[in-house]
């Protein structure tokens, strides 16, 4: 495994290459509080091309910002920095990484060659509809610069993910991507945002190996 670091906004992002190869890469996006896998996960071993994995800001070997302020959009921007580096990729996201992958695909519909959404930590976030706001608190003694950043854990477990917001991104993919099947949902979890995305004809339920064997040919 080789690791390169991307300077992006005020983050230093660790991008791991798990396996070299030809063709467009598979980019793995981890779940909340996780980090990139050290070895190639069994489920993606059938992938033909290179396999890479990103540590989001505040996770794994990436830098830890001071004072929190995490949003899924900032993490989407982390993954977009990889697109700038590698060119088009297929995304495979676990939990939080699946939601971030949907946002990125909807925002860069011609630069993402398919997304697979897997179960994982942070799939639901703070739910689909606004709830009573709260003032999050993290013990200062836990803020020692190590990952995962406690602010990421607190803020990205409570962010609201409206179904209409996810549906808008799915529609962007449907209209602007050239793929007939663009997003494969391999998770058992069905948060409201994901159910809404599944309303789009280009978002389908599929097992991961079928999904990857389709996307690897693109």
């Amino acid at each position: 495994m080789t690791t390169t670091f991307l300077e992006h906004v005020r983050s230093r992002l660790a991008l791991h290459e798990l396996r070299d190869g030809t063709g467009h890469p598979l980019l793995i996006l981890h779940g909340l509080g996780e980090e990139s896998p050290q070895k190639i996960p069994k489920v993606v071993q059938g992938w033909r091309g290179p396999i890479c994995a990103l540590d989001f800001t505040g996770h794994g070997a990436s830098s830890v910002p001071v004072g929190g302020g995490y949003t899924c959009e900032a993490l989407m921007s982390d993954a977009d920095a990889v697109l700038a580096q590698l060119g088009p990729v297929t995304l495979l996201g676990y939990g939080l990484g699946g939601y971030v992958g949907l946002l990125l695909f909807g925002s860069r519909p011609t630069e993402v060659k398919g997304l697979v959404i897997m179960d994982g930590p942070g799939l639901d976030g703070g739910g689909g509809r606004p709830v009573s706001p709260k003032l999050l608190h993290v013990s200062s003694s836990s803020l020692d610069g190590s990952t995962p950043d406690p602010w990421a854990m607190a803020e990205l477990a409570s962010d609201i993910r409206p179904p209409s917001y996810a549906a808008d991104h799915a529609r962007q993919i449907q209209v602007l991507s050239e793929l007939d099947v663009a997003v494969c949902v391999a998770s058992l979890g069905r948060p409201e945002w994901l159910t809404a995305a599944l309303e789009s004809p280009v978002v389908v339920e599929s097992d991961v190996s079928t999904a990857l064997s389709t996307f690897t040919l693109l």
């Binding site: 300077e7 992006h8 906004v9 005020r10 983050s11 800001t57 830098s63 910002p65 001071v66 004072g67 929190g68 302020g69 995490y70 949003t71 899924c72 959009e73 900032a74 989407m76 921007s77 977009d80 920095a81 700038a84 909807g106 925002s107 860069r108 519909p109 606004p130 009573s132 706001p133 709260k134 003032l135 999050l136 993290v138 200062s140 803020l143 803020e155 962010d159 609201i160 993910r161 409206p162 209409s164 917001y165 808008d168 529609r171 962007q172 209209v175 602007l176």
Partner: protein, 310 residues
């Protein structure tokens, strides 16, 4: 250079720089806190709007201080003299506001006043910390069901595509960006595009307090990684069903002339959602910056309100 500043500031003798400033740790980064008025007086917290800074209170805050308040304002993270952060969210700004209140070491709840985004923040502060807030004054920061005036139409595929890719494009180069350097006059003219109703004298004054003078010119002290315009799933209208639940005395003031920076809430819309018993003023021939266009009048109704309810 200081001569130019003196000349510009002399054109607005009623504007007054704060009496004191200090820095407050808000969890590893520091925000700049400024105060006008006697330290022993009743505290009143002011929250500025997005892309503004505490210096935008220089006309309004002294009027309140002269009426016997210890007026406390802070620069939101990334704005003015506060530290820049790696990440920004509404929720982080809310935590910073709570830290500023903590820094006052007051046991009693205090009145709070916010403009625009700051008004929305103070609405939420009264909900999440009801025991810390004794009254809310909201200056043109009352939400409506239509969202922000400048919000993209999310049903328009091309408009949304441009918005989403534009935000990411900005992030791709944001780490290397700095704000554009210009003369005081040039920065004031650019700000007038977004604040067309504010006087040139005021906008030039703002440059002298909200920008810094580098070797190649003046730059606004606002983090260049921040981008104007809403992004993300959060919507101001989420607060609408909860406003009625605020059980503190409430004064709402809106300007009736719609502006790009404003929220576009009509008096009818505002009146329907405000807390029971709220006092409400819709100012004719006044834009979004009610406290800058009509500082004396807005200070008068604020002081009268606070005198009655505290």
């Amino acid at each position: 250079m200081s001569n130019e500043i003196d000349v510009i500031r002399s054109l607005l003798p009623q504007a007054r720089r704060p009496d004191r400033s200090r820095r407050v740790d808000v969890g590893g980064i520091e925000v700049s806190v400024v105060e006008w008025g006697d330290e022993m007086s009743q505290p009143l917290l002011l929250a500025h709007g997005g892309f503004d800074f505490a210096g935008t209170w220089d006309l309004f805050a002294p009027l309140l201080a002269d009426e016997g308040f210890r007026v406390v304002a802070w620069d939101q993270r990334g704005h003015g003299d506060s530290d820049m952060a790696a990440l920004y969210t509404w929720e982080a700004d809310m935590r910073d506001a709570a830290c500023v209140i903590e820094s006052l070491n007051t046991e009693k709840p205090i009145p709070v006043l916010g403009h625009s985004k700051g008004g929305g923040m103070m609405n939420q502060l009264a909900e999440v910390l009801p025991h810390r807030v004794s009254a809310v004054i909201n200056l043109d920061g009352i939400p409506n069901e239509r969202g922000f005036t400048n919000q993209v139409d999310r049903s328009d595929v091309n408009a949304l595509a441009s918005e989403l890719s534009g935000w990411l494009d900005h992030r791709r180069k944001a780490g290397q960006m700095s704000r554009r350097a210009d003369t005081i006059k040039g920065l004031a003219e650019r700000r007038k595009l977004m604040n067309p109703r504010l006087s040139t004298e005021w906008l030039q004054y703002l440059v002298t307090v909200g920008a810094r003078c580098d070797d190649d010119g003046w730059r606004w002290k606002i983090d260049p990684t921040l981008r104007f315009g809403p992004s993300g799933a959060w919507r101001p209208e989420w607060a609408i069903p909860r406003l009625r639940g605020l059980h503190v005395p409430y004064l709402g003031v809106i300007g009736t002339v719609k502006e790009e920076m404003g929220w576009g809430t009509t008096p009818e819309e505002a009146f329907q959602i405000l807390p029971e018993g709220a006092e409400f003023h819709a100012l004719a021939d006044t834009g979004h910056f009610v406290h800058i266009e009509r500082p004396d009048y807005v200070a008068e109704i604020a002081v009268e309100f606070l005198g009655r309810v505290l």
